[in-house]
Symmetry: C2
Subunit: 162 residues, 2 copies
DNA sequence: TATTGTTATACTCTATAACTATA
DNA sequence: TATAGTTATAGAGTATAACAATA
């Protein structure tokens, strides 16, 4: 708090390379890796007219049948209110259709159209190619360890947290 | 599009465990790992009255001196307009002080107060303990590979992207 | 003219509340 | 009374534009 300071040492030119204290932080690394992948994913799916959330909906619908909107929302871990807009967008593009469940007329069964199935196939190929490019700078063993680690942290640990 | 459908197979009870198609997706895994860590980080830092962004500012300030607001913003990869509110909050808590640069009177030199330095020390210990707990379910080798992979993807690859 | 700090604005994402129709 | 779909609203976070002071 005294006025004595070293006489203004030169500051290195401002670059976007983070200084030492940041690049070893797990929070910094995870956040920026996620953002980088999100951008790559958006770019890879843009030609197909969908985004990552919409692709996830299509994939869930293809894996299980029949599913209502809340059930899809539960699989994806999103709120049922956000699912409405998601299904709206997919329906506008003709990729899914809403259908009242005969067994429970409160439920909207969401089902893939043939166009939706075709879009899903092409989107999955685009996603796989994107993930391969994204992991390309890693050697095979490190890439496998990354996926294994994330799966343990996200999938296995959830059981404990519940 | 015909009405012929299998007679409504039973739907498994809705749980939050993602179905097969999601847990192998890099995007899903990275996003949820990041969210999980962000929650753990917030909980670990809450007793100190700061959040992860504020801790990052303190750490950058401790590593380089002197730094103006834009320079800190550049190190963190955030906009200079968001840096204003960040420094406001830290200054209100007495952790940093603004000081006009004599060399360039447009610049605000941001410097740690003794309280800020103390807060940084305790926050860094809390963060390290939190990261250890977060990585605890991984064996040592996998945890090291995770950090190494993220560092390559985030730090090394940026040079190429620029 | 360009840069720094600042404010105001807009836009995205998400969470909450409330309404309806069904059960 | 509870659930499914829907809408509206509010909040956090972030990006953009503009302005004053300074270079």
């Amino acid at each position: 708090m005294t006025g004595e300071r070293p006489p203004v040492p030169p500051v290195p030119p401002a670059r976007h390379v983070p200084p030492v204290p940041l690049e070893s932080r797990l929070g910094y690394l995870l956040k920026h890796a996620q953002q980088r992948l999100a951008r790559a994913s958006a770019a890879a799916l843009a030609p197909l007219g969908i985004d990552g959330h919409e692709l996830a909906v299509l994939a869930v619908l293809a894996a299980e049948y029949p599913l209502s909107q809340v059930e899809v929302a539960g699989r994806l871990g999103v709120d049922r209110t956000t699912m409405v807009a998601l299904v709206d967008g997919l329906e506008d593009q003709g990729l899914v259709e809403r259908r009242r469940s005969p067994a429970d007329r409160r439920k909207n069964i969401v089902e893939l159209t043939p166009e939706g199935r075709d879009c899903l196939d092409r989107a999955e190929r685009a996603r796989l190619a994107m993930e391969r490019r994204f992991l390309d700078p890693l050697d095979e063993e490190t890439a496998a360890a990354l996926v294994r680690a994330l799966r343990i942290l996200v999938v296995e640990e959830r059981r404990i947290a519940e």
